[in-house]
Chain length 537, copies 2
């Protein structure tokens, strides 16, 4: 017979929405109690949402979070709850309150504060080194830790040294491709080292560039996976613990790598749009593969009735591009508008002719078209209050093969962390799973082109994506130098050229909209080089 | 007779330019030796430039910095040098090498790593708690500390406890208004506590959003100011120490508050433009005060021959605006181009008429004009490789009274941290110092207007700037809540409205170009709230 029934409440908190988060916690608490849970585990900083960033520097916000926690605590009954919140004591701590019957039984303060990659916790919090209190919950001794604490042995072993028979680890752990596998390997090790079950509860939902993927986990004291919650959706995972054993429980199948990225993109987009108060989005449909993928994601995120496509053909657009965009939109069931840009294009040429007289053509003549389209799209956005989704991929963001204020103009850059080769894989997988050409084959088959001059191809300006993407991965995600890339076998000229493109275009990326992080090093919050920078890579 | 002659080499290092920085260090070292200096003090992380940000995560960069330091050390003679560099040992340290006669005598590792405001040092470095070595330089015992170490008593007192008769503090301390006064008050206290002279050497120059203001200082062991270098320029400050006394030395006059901000804007602009490889800039001249100030700054930063003005009148532009812009440009001696936007404006209206049929006018009709101007300006920028300087001020950035991809389009936002009321003060001060109307009186006198519809005034959409700016200061720089602002006497409706505007427009600021930080809390690197955020302030 189980000694302790635990509910892992994998909920979608909203940053800054204190009252809403309190309600979400209480609703999940009640649901868990109905399932007979004696302990309910909530995510890290669930009261504030994660990451609250500089809201934590506002004393009134931190005070309001404490009041919100108090209201939640007051509603608890016999079932204990572990609730993440920012605790203002002598300093500010990233903390977890353990509470029941209207009282706080004790507070654990996070030991290890991540301050790398997308994390800035040392900007806000003080690390504690005091072993956490161990709580008696229905006769079982429960230790509590928070997120990063699980990544070193010490905090969990300290709980066990204090007598914990089970260790809870509450998280706001953001997604990147492969993260679930890493977490499971780590937690298996940690449970085995500790000899006690580990209950790993994660946040779910999108927050600006981050997606929290849920996938909460329970490991038994021998390091075996005992339970796994759904990824990318709210869930309540109920497990019966008989420490160090865990009774057989639900183990949701983990998503395959490519659809996992797709689900991250869908959730990140849905939450950015909805949490910011928008209902509809608008997307420029070029007939190319990037905008096709973004439109498909938007439809899965919001429903086709909330997705609007705009076709903006120019004098250089091929008939095929327009047709392909129309076929795509019809297949997705989304509304489209067609706004040819020729009139504005001609007007700009006339307006600028006196200034440009006698000066040869360059990239200016291409960018002006892209910026006309950006203006059309933003004007439609302003008129109807639809959020613009941009369609640039990571290969373009890396190399600067995008027009600032042109195709980069918009509110959310859905695939900005997805390299072009992965864009293709996502589209093919989408079609395979759907059993039909959601992304028309013609779009998959044609060579990529910006269509800003006659017969233009991406390969006029960039290496083939199959060559380019691995160099970007090494230079950007691996922080490898040009010399290291060459030593790994890349062509020296290619490596130098890509490094130069990446470095010289940091200024563009700084002005890009946020987008979903799906890699372990995304442009934006994750990778922070200087703009002014003479290091040649 | 002095026991030790010290040269404080206040130099302008460039981030990532390792070879260049080595040369700058050696040139200044040689100059100091020619002045008879026995100890030459260089800024924090002078080898890499500051802040190197995520370049520090690239192992090849850190290794190259070590090689660069070794080359510099090899060139040193009898005079000792204190040189900031990133030291890769078991961990990475923010360090200072003391060297002479081709050898490193010892290394000090920074104790206190700032991780607040614009600083992220804990992202990269490990803090040391070991007392620094004390060095014998020409018979005087010299202790070394780095920047933040001076802001707590411990590190300097630890040097003295080790026998230091003088403590060097090397810095990369960024400017904000009033910073010099704070530093001097602190260092006076610290020198008095320690009872030894403190030699405070600072970096000078612009790096992205930061300006390092120089103004290196020497205090004697009684806490009296003994020497001050120039602000905002490279300098070599030579002092003779007879610890705890300091011989009478050069004390440069400190700039008054308003011209000090002006000099920060000039240096920040010059260095962003030049360090990024541009020679010329282009500015939209609206006839308003913001673009007038930016043009004046650009002229002081780069010379009038490198500044280009573009006039882009529309159907709503007053004749006065065009005339005022022309008078301004003539006074500054800059080239102008006039590109009326009517043709493009009409083209967009025609193109969008079918989409907007039956829908009332809103902000879309205004923004489209601003975005046409943004496109003209960027097309000119792309054509001639001139960097676009944007002209938005902090009051506009705070409230979102700016058009994304319109007037916000450009490479560097010179006055984005300058509130409108300070824009006026800067212009009046500029005219007073010049003894003529550099900024024409007509521009100073007329009410601010975006001129995007007939008879528009800023006050149609915003409170008067004299009311607005103090609320912004409290809400943004002071992190005060609406309730706190009301308790301080601000109108509740005004406070709520401003807080809402600030919060709702974070998405725009994220896509703004970098600009010079002159306040202690600037938008950008300094203030980092979430975009998705339901906290009502």
């Amino acid at each position: 017979m189980a000694r302790l029934r635990v509910g892992v409440a994998q909920i979608n908190a909203v940053v800054g929405d204190l009252d809403g988060n309190a309600q979400r916690v209480l609703d999940a608490y009640d649901a868990a109690v109905r399932e007979g849970c004696e302990l309910v585990v909530f995510p890290e900083l669930v009261i504030t949402g994660y990451p609250p960033e500089d809201l934590l520097l506002r004393p009134a916000f931190v005070a309001a979070a404490a009041e919100t926690l108090a209201k939640v605590v007051a509603r608890t009954g016999d079932a204990a709850a572990v609730i993440g919140f920012p605790e203002q004591a002598d300093r500010l701590y990233n903390a977890a309150a353990v509470c029941a019957n209207g009282r706080v039984l004790g507070v654990y303060r996070k030991h290890l504060l991540p301050n790398y990659a997308v994390f800035d916790e040392q900007r806000y919090f003080t690390a504690s080194s005091e072993p956490g209190p161990v709580f008696d919950v229905a006769g079982v001794r429960v230790g509590v830790t928070i997120c990063e604490d699980a990544w070193e042995p010490e905090p969990i072993l300290a709980c066990v040294a204090q007598g914990a028979e089970v260790v809870v680890n509450i998280n706001a752990s953001p997604y990147y491709a492969g993260r679930l596998v890493e977490r499971e390997a780590l937690l298996a090790t940690r449970a085995r080292q500790a000899g006690v079950p580990i209950v790993y509860g994660n946040l779910v939902g999108g927050q600006d560039e981050l997606v929290f993927d849920g996938g909460s986990l329970v490991f038994d004291g021998s390091g075996n996976l005992a339970a796994r919650a759904t990824q990318f959706r709210e869930d309540l995972l109920v497990v019966d613990l008989d420490p160090p054993a865990v009774a057989p429980a639900r183990i949701e199948a983990a998503l395959d790598p490519v659809p996992e990225v797709y689900e991250a993109l869908v959730l990140g987009t849905r939450d950015y749009v909805r949490k910011n108060g928008f209902t509809d989005v608008v997307i420029a449909l070029s007939g190319g593969i990037d905008s096709a993928l973004v439109a498909a994601i938007a439809v899965d995120a919001l429903g086709p009735e909330h997705v609007n496509g705009v076709l903006m053909p120019s004098r250089y657009s091929s008939a095929g591009s327009v047709d392909d965009a129309v076929v795509l939109a019809e297949g997705l069931g989304i509304r489209t508008f067609t706004v040819p840009i020729e009139r504005a294009h001609a007007a700009f040429e006339e307006m600028l002719a006196p200034v440009f007289e006698g000066v040869g053509e360059n990239v200016a003549e291409e960018n002006v078209q892209s910026r006309i389209r950006g203006n059309v799209l933003m004007t439609i956005s302003n008129k109807f209050n639809w959020l613009v989704l941009t369609t640039g991929n990571k290969s373009e963001m890396a190399t600067g093969y995008a027009t600032l204020y042109g195709d980069m103009a918009g509110g959310f850059a859905v695939i900005k962390d997805v390299p072009k080769t992965l864009v293709y894989a996502l589209c093919r997988d989408l079609n395979a799973r759907a059993g039909r050409a959601v992304i028309p084959e013609a779009i998959l088959d044609k060579p990529p082109s910006a269509e800003l001059r006659p017969d233009q191809k991406d390969t006029d300006s960039l290496p083939e994506y199959e060559l380019l993407d691995p160099v970007i991965e090494g230079y950007v995600e691996g922080d490898e130098s040009v010399a290291e890339l060459v030593a790994r076998g890349f062509d020296p000229e290619l490596a130098r050229r890509v490094a130069r493109m990446v470095d010289r275009n940091e200024y563009k990326r700084r002005q890009a909209p946020p987008g979903v992080r799906v890699s372990h090093k995304a442009f934006g919050k994750d990778r922070r080089p200087p703009i002014t920078n003479r290091w040649p890579g």
